[in-house]
Symmetry: D2
Subunit: 324 residues, 4 copies
């Protein structure tokens, strides 16, 4: 309801602000007996960490995960798994001089409208730092669906363009494609929890995402039925489709083909270039945002796209155990 919980049977609740003492996640509904160590979680977290290359922000964080419950002798116990990551490199003073200014492209103004006031140090819950909990949860989810392989990659822009844009103090958007292999047919739920509906919701929950399409996607709006329908064929006793315009599902339920979808990300909102804005009292102002920022948030969104896809599939995998 309050937007901080995702999933039905494999259910995660993330908490924490970018400039508070810590961020974390509580994972509930994880089956008992799954083998997991802090190393497994750390490995996934390291993939999303900033400061890893020229294309990301130099903000360095150790992002060390501490498991506080739900795991005993390296196995899940079936009780809630609480994971904590301390925030230890916040530079809150960077934000003091923009305390009363709404940053364009950020949620500053809208959070103020919603809650009546806000933690002005960074993006609060809207910060990408919130996604740490999602990635930690995915490290565990992966062990529940070990045969399913999820792989996201940046389709555009190319790295050279990102570096160029960065030098200009500007930022650029990006497009990610995600392919999921070895999904058994029959996963997903009807009507409101169609697999594509859940994936769309999951992807648009990632900071900065602006669009989602599956299979033939927006192109299908111009296609004919005779062209877009995937013919079914029986091959080696398995039903497959000759093409995959559906993107691996029909009626929101997986058909056993690869799931393929794309997510569009807007350019990073924090840029060094001077912008027009308004202060909290409603006066017109200009703003120049300092601090360290990723030139292309899509680059850092790659592991988050995988994590969210994995959380959806794990949840539906558990739901399917109760269906027949």
């Amino acid at each position: 309801m309050s937007g901080n919980t995702f999933g039905n049977l494999f259910r995660i609740t993330t908490w924490g602000e970018s400039h508070g003492p810590a961020v974390g996640v509580v994972i509930d509904g994880c089956p008992a007996g799954i083998k997991i160590t802090e190393k497994d979680i750390q490995k996934e977290l390291d993939r999303r960490k900033p400061g890893q290359g020229k294309l990301t922000t130099p903000r360095k964080e150790s992002d060390k995960a501490e498991i506080l419950s739900g795991i005993f002798e390296e196995k899940t116990t079936g009780t809630p798994i609480s994971i904590l990551v301390r925030n230890n490199n916040q530079q809150s003073k960077d934000y003091k001089n923009i305390k009363n200014l709404y940053r364009p492209g950020h949620a500053d103004f809208t959070y103020d409208m919603k809650y009546g006031f806000r933690d002005y140090r960074g993006g609060g819950r809207a910060s990408a730092r919130e996604t740490i909990g999602r990635v930690a949860a995915y490290a565990i989810a992966k062990k529940i669906i070990p045969t399913i392989k999820i792989n996201a990659k940046l389709i555009e822009p190319n790295p050279r363009l990102i570096e160029e844009v960065k030098k200009q103090g500007d930022s650029i958007g990006g497009l990610i494609e995600c392919t999921i292999k070895n999904v058994p047919a029959g996963l997903g739920s009807p009507v409101f929890d169609k697999l594509d509906a859940r994936l769309a919701g999951a992807m648009l929950s990632i900071p900065g995402s602006k669009g989602f399409e599956i299979g033939s996607g927006f192109k299908s709006a111009q296609m004919r039925g005779s062209e877009n329908n995937d013919a079914l064929v029986s091959e080696k006793k398995k039903v497959i489709t000759k093409t995959n315009n559906s993107g691996g599902m029909l009626g929101g339920i997986s058909n056993g083909m690869d799931i393929v979808f794309r997510v569009a990300f807007k350019p990073t909102s924090s840029i060094a270039i001077k912008q027009q804005t308004v202060d909290t009292k409603g006066n017109n102002k200009t703003i120049e945002i300092q601090g360290r920022h990723d030139p292309c948030i899509a680059v850092r969104a790659i592991p988050i796209v995988e994590a969210m896809a994995g959380l959806v599939l794990t949840d539906e995998y558990l739901i399917q155990k109760t269906v027949k």
Copy 2:
């Protein structure tokens, strides 16, 4: 969990198969004292009815809504509102000869995989007929947020092209744009229930939808931050943005500008043209689908897009009452 319920505080559960005795909806969480009559509901249902023009299926249904509970002396009582619509023009015999064939583009195969068997008469829960309950619920939701105006329209294809395609026994996809005016700033929830995430999920839950984008959408993947960020300005004591690339929200929370999004629909899967498929025993077959079908499902999806957008906003409107 099972996918048949939508919403948190304003919560609808739809039920019913296209070829069963009836379809319906239970609306729970509707505030007490809202004025509503069967006429209000009928008016919305009539908009989605088939058989209304050259561009839709000739299947004629009276689609008469019967209110069974929750309304007393034309006012909601705060208890669940149950609405029933009988199915009275099903031609189940149309489906007998394809009982054992999986229709390409339909959920026949995937439902069999999920549940172990299925009601082979039409699309069951995957049928567009399920959406009647959503539209009926929206007729009530509208009264809770009377100042918010939701308007969806078909961007492409043009009507002439639809008719042409229909003559060929084929079908065509379509693109819908939806604009929502007068949304107060501050609606929507953080993280997983961002307004755009919820809208994306809601839109992809509509049969045949393949993509969603908001504001600058997929185009934003190629834009620079300096170009995509919407500058804030104060005008007549109101904070607005000079452009609306965000599509009316930041961090998943409305900023008071128009909400603008687009939804892509694939071409109708049922076409008169012969197609390759597989039967329930795994033999390769061909199929020719008779019966009456819409050449472009996007046309009939227009009121459903509005309904789903309205259900999301009504739910968030009620949630906002508990936030501060």
Copy 3:
């Protein structure tokens, strides 16, 4: 949230007022492939029907269940099961003369306080008629846990006392004991969804119930640990307990022994004797309630106690499939 839905995986939503056109239930999350006919449901409904003996109200209702969805060729399809029962013997005119009076012991005043107004014809949602949907749902639930046997019986008062009280135009309370056999060890969830917590909540949701106790119950408040602890013993390779003070569960999880609990019911609130009350304008008045009423609601609550226990166990049975 609005109180009309019960259960997590096997989830029922009841709707309908006692004097509206119908009452009903939507059952969601029922596994596919369960054999069920309208007769199975009717059989359970007939058990709860009024007018069956000297001890219940003479209000006669056919209470005929109509299945509207989710069952095809006598098997559940995995989609929502909608069941409708028309109200065909309401005597609304009985209520006209008490339209503006709050009946003592009834929810008239509290519903007015909650919703601002109410359907004054009978108890609305607070009527025992609402429980029809629960019983219909239990008819299906039973098929999912066929080996578990649930049996409730009236401990007190004896039938002669009930008849005596009835002749006086008065009513009397009652005590029900419910025993559940063949429950596998391991059902139930920790902390807030302990099996006893869920049973207590379920029982107190039955109109007129005032208390719940399990195993040694209220007596345990005076017992010593050495007396109340159930010693474990191994018998024929099965772990059992020598006594059953726990009532079949520890830490809210079943231990394989019989589940035994008791539920106290208050006397029927509607009595023929003159009572002091207040009208909707706040004036002091007296009231004499006519109409047909059960002298002891506990008698009619027996099948509801069984139904609610069955719904809890079915839900936890499905949950357990996802735990290890």
Copy 4:
């Protein structure tokens, strides 16, 4: 679903095992702008702490609460509040020698049955230590409903008897009565979420509770309607009842009178006296439980009873904002 979350709008998820590194709670749905400090939380925690008198276990814990999110400049921000309490005085070695024995009266056997294995160091999630999170959450809830006054007290046994029993190495049960004043009429939800149903579920979720009754409770089973019905009277423009057999609610909705209920607790299961039991391999054994234990868990349950009542009322208070 997994039992670790309580509440709808004011929603808490507790996590942590008695012998893991920490226990904690995430509170979601707390309105923004509520003034709260770590001191407020500490004050409530100190009330439930062990080691406070002759009647409780000498296990001393600092139980220091650390707020990790959701509060900024001493006000709630509307985002999840994460509270952590380290476990710093566990004596896990106490448990080593009973690692393979099921303690009578404890959840050892049932957790093994449910999850396939368990954390054998203490009660895990079934430990009273889990309730720290509930009490911390109540410290915040209190600020949302400041006029409502909740007060629980031990009715029996008397302190002298507890000390006597303790000297014998035995334990004793107890009875708590809780009175809630200044509850506005109209709180609570119909049917399954009746206020008494929710309170019953909440109370039976407290470790060791065996029974719940409200108002005239179990006594009402022997009462006549003419005796048990509370007459309504109008006094100083307020509708009150002459007696309060209903315990402050009708149809599950508060009527403005005091809410009065009682909860029965069994004697502490851990006793120094030798008991018969079974080991994890199914062999008959005897067990003597060392370590430090409360002679009467009811004593320590007092603040938990208040906390759970407060959580229910706060949740229904927020729900009521959306009802009319």
